[in-house]
């Protein structure tokens, strides 16, 4: 087998942060190399360097034996590198065909030949068995479909080396399995594949070789046969990690959160939560499993009163939450760990200590009348930074300077350090490293054991399966089934998530 890609001694730093330090790797024809590492381990930086989106400080990248000019995307494409990005590189308002041909359009005298482009698109999707509608507009497509377009875009350029940056983060289990199958087929055709992920299960399932990065350094390469999930996790984090969440039997009590006939519309004014009813008891974690975009976001925002309800009621401890009044929801006892922590969870320019009192800065003991009690804010900040293991030199640093995992810990610390009645956690471990995930999971279980009703929304089925006591499956704005976690089965839930009757 010929060597396709040779990375030799690549280093890259952003300011004082070292993203890559002296990394050397190879990928051969027809080989699937999984690049494994926590968030911030430098995986994305490394593959962006290969694709010419980032200029390495030192080191060389060879493709097919030729040294690549650093930071030249067009040259990387020309020599057969294709990339499927973590954030899809698709123009949302354009059609599938237009996205496929962008940058290399079939044309006559500068005029795009859209008919021929469509034919090409169809031929391509047939050749690789990736079915798409060439006329569909990207923003109307489900995520899995958009990803197909992204892969087709790379295949159209006749790729020899395909790079995928966390491709499964947004997929259902079924879509993930399909994708892994597609990758195996491509490898059989001789395409070299560089596959970034932090999901151990996928690595074990599909990789020929595994390279593990930690803190910008290559910790070693191994194969699925020589390794195991727990060994890989240890390589990634640098210490032993408990992959299984350990928790005691739930002791559910009275209903704390009850949702009755809730209807909510999304940003496009389409009804996305349809007559949904749900009850969460004190002392249990109810997990909502579903493919993203099936109404979870609107459901969470409606419970927290951040989004207008078309009809229906949200009742916390017997008290109805008024419409569009997040403050009232908070005072009624709803803790909210939002999906988008940068947008709804933190004021990134404020200090960590201020962020930790963001929802109670005007209440005792943090204020006396109109005057803030900064001493209390500081004490609270310091104690929570320690208790919640927020890795920061002190509590007065701006929250924006923290890493993703630590930002999330700030939000979790604030929301879980108050009187706990109802906890709404939306994607609480998204973009968070393995070590912090373990910590956040334990905090949620502690909240449950302290008698809170926890509603957990996550696109990661594994997270739901390991944390939840009951699992509700949401599809197209409706709860289609509720399981006790003991009787829950991965495949059945996956089918329900995809909208298929089980």
């Amino acid at each position: 087998m010929k060597t396709l890609l040779e990375i030799e001694g690549v280093s890259k730093s952003f300011g004082s942060v070292i993203a890559n330090e002296n990394i050397s790797l190879t990928v051969k024809e027809g080989e699937i190399l999984a690049l494994l590492g926590e968030n911030g381990a430098g995986k994305s930086t490394l593959v962006k360097a290969v694709f010419g989106l980032v200029k390495p400080d030192t080191g060389t990248i060879k493709i097919n034996g030729t040294v690549m000019e650093s930071g030249d995307t067009a040259a990387a494409i020309a020599s057969g590198v294709g990339m499927v990005h973590q954030h899809f590189q698709l123009v949302p308002v354009m059609s599938v065909t237009e996205n496929l041909i962008l940058g290399d359009e079939p044309k006559r005298f500068g005029v795009v030949n859209i008919k021929q482009a469509k034919k090409e698109a169809l031929a391509l999707s047939e050749k690789y068995g990736l079915e798409v509608d060439p006329d569909a507009i990207i923003e109307d497509l489900p995520v899995g479909m958009a990803q197909r377009v992204e892969i087709l875009k790379a295949l159209r350029r006749d790729v020899k080396l395909l790079i995928l940056d966390e491709p499964t983060a947004v997929l259902t289990p079924q879509e993930t399995d399909e994708l892994l199958e597609v990758l195996r087929n491509l490898a059989k055709r001789g395409v070299g594949i560089l596959f970034i992920t932090h999901k151990l299960r996928e690595v074990m399932a599909v990789a020929d070789r595994i390279a593990v990065l930690r803190g910008g350094k290559l910790m070693g390469t191994t194969t699925p046969k020589e390794s195991s999930e727990s060994k890989l996790a240890q390589m990634m984090v640098g210490r032993e990690v408990v992959l299984r969440v350990e928790k005691s039997q739930a002791k559910p009590k009275e209903v704390l959160l009850s949702i009755k006939n809730l209807r909510v519309s999304d940003d496009r004014k389409l009804e996305s939560v349809k007559d949904l009813s749900l009850e969460v008891h004190a002392g249990e974690i109810l997990g909502i499993a579903g493919v993203e975009g099936n109404g979870q976001r609107e459901l969470v925002e409606a419970i927290c009163s951040m989004r207008s309800r078309l009809s229906g009621e949200v009742i916390v401890k017997g008290q109805e939450i008024p419409n569009l009044n997040p403050r009232a929801a908070h005072l009624a006892g709803v803790s909210h760990i939002p999906e988008d922590r940068e947008k709804h969870g933190l004021v990134t320019s404020y200090s960590i200590a201020d962020n930790l009192v963001l929802n109670r800065f005007d209440q005792a003991p943090f204020a006396k009348g109109w005057i803030r009690n900064l001493e209390e804010v500081a004490n609270n900040g310091e104690s929570l930074v320690e208790k919640f293991d927020i890795r920061a030199p002190d509590a007065y640093l701006s929250a924006g300077s923290l890493s993703g995992g630590n930002k999330q810990k700030v939000v979790v610390a604030r929301e879980l350090s108050q009187q706990l009645d109802v906890v709404v956690a939306a994607q609480p471990t998204r973009g968070v490293d393995v070590g912090s995930i373990e910590f956040i999971h334990n905090q949620l279980i502690a909240a449950r054991d302290a008698g809170a009703a926890v509603l957990l929304v996550s696109a990661e089925l594994d997270e739901i399966l390991s944390l939840a006591d009951r699992i509700a499956v949401i599809s197209n704005g409706k709860i289609v089934a509720i399981f006790n976690s003991k009787e829950a089965d991965r495949n059945t839930i996956g089918r329900l998530m995809a909208g298929l009757a089980s």
Partner: protein, 326 residues
């Protein structure tokens, strides 16, 4: 629904026109002729906005671009005693203003609103400081008597006998529409304005395309300025453009960043102004002229209020592109 509204508008227009034409044919056609003259600089200026914003650069310096280009076009024309050369100087000046905006907005990643304000202040300052009285150009650009079309009934006197910049301008707007939606330049430009990192990862240089389009748009703004000084009026005064560059932004939004839409919106603005002018001349209505002069600005506010929240600007406009962040 949208279609129906525009159908009603066209119907109302035709009915009103038939009524006025039956009363006085000469006046009715001359109002339409004037409407085109009022509309053209607005339409061209709106193209500046379309070309910039479609590639993701906000240009609020259209006013300044037009003002300084009208200034250089007029004085170059007067000093060289050649109107056509004056026009070319105006176009060149506009291109330079575009280049300056590209330098600030694309290279230095400045706030694009501030960059645009700089263009406007620069133009206002230079044109009033160097303004001199008692200059004149040899003649305005000669109107062209269109063959065949000129002889048509009703439409002939409306469409014929405009100046060369008017005809070129309309041709340019049609060509721009075609280029934007049918050529690879257009596909790439729109991609850069909507989602620049997709274009970049597909091997399209975001920086180069933004430079090219913003500079070319500046040249179009220069042409619009030259039109005012050399074709429409034949003089230059301080503050000559009177906010047309800002009205053009409203027209661009009203036309949904589409060249043909903006052309239609500009014609609507032009027609409104031509009709009120005629009403004043006829003394049908007794409104103080100050109020009539307010009309374009009031219409701008109304149009923006109607369009607000309904139209969707290019997603990446106003955001400098940073490659390493992607």
């Amino acid at each position: 629904m949208k279609l129906r509204t525009s159908h009603y508008l066209i119907f109302a227009f035709l009915a009103a026109f038939t009524y006025f034409y039956s009363k006085d044919g000469l006046v009715a056609t001359s109002v339409l002729y004037t409407a085109i003259q009022f509309a053209l600089p607005l339409a061209l200026a709106a193209m500046v906005g379309v070309m910039c914003e479609r590639t993701g650069v906000v240009n609020i310096g259209i006013e300044g671009t037009m003002l300084i280009s009208a200034f250089t076009a007029f004085f170059a024309g007067a000093i060289l005693k050649n109107t056509v050369q004056g026009m070319l100087v105006g176009v060149f000046t506009g291109a330079m203003m575009g280049l300056l905006l590209a330098l600030m907005a694309v290279n230095w990643k400045m706030d694009q609103i501030i960059a645009g304000v700089i263009l406007n202040i620069l133009a206002a300052g230079i044109t009033s400081f160097y303004y001199r009285q008692n200059y004149s150009i040899p003649s305005t650009l000669d109107p062209i008597d269109l063959p065949v079309v000129g002889a048509w009934p009703i439409l002939g006197p409306v469409l014929s006998f405009h100046g060369p910049i008017t005809y070129f301008g309309i041709f340019f707007i049609l060509a721009l529409w075609f280029a934007l939606y049918k050529t690879s330049w257009g596909l790439r430009s729109r991609a850069v304005g909507e989602h620049p990192s997709s274009a970049d990862t597909a091997g399209v240089s975001v920086i180069r395309l933004r430079y090219l389009n913003v500079t070319a748009a500046g040249a179009v703004g220069g042409l619009a300025g030259a039109y005012l000084a050399l074709e429409a009026v034949g003089i230059f005064e301080r503050g000559f453009t009177a906010g047309k560059g800002f009205t053009a932004l409203a027209i661009m939004i009203f036309g949904r960043w589409n060249p043909l839409g903006a052309l239609a919106a500009a014609l609507f603005f032009g027609l409104t102004q031509a009709v009120t002018n005629q009403l004043m001349i006829d003394e049908v209505v007794e409104i103080p002229p100050q109020f009539i002069n307010m009309l374009p600005y009031i219409l701008t506010i109304v149009v923006l209020a109607i369009s607000a929240g309904k139209v969707r600007p290019p997603a990446a406009e106003g955001i400098p592109y940073e490659k390493e962040k992607s």
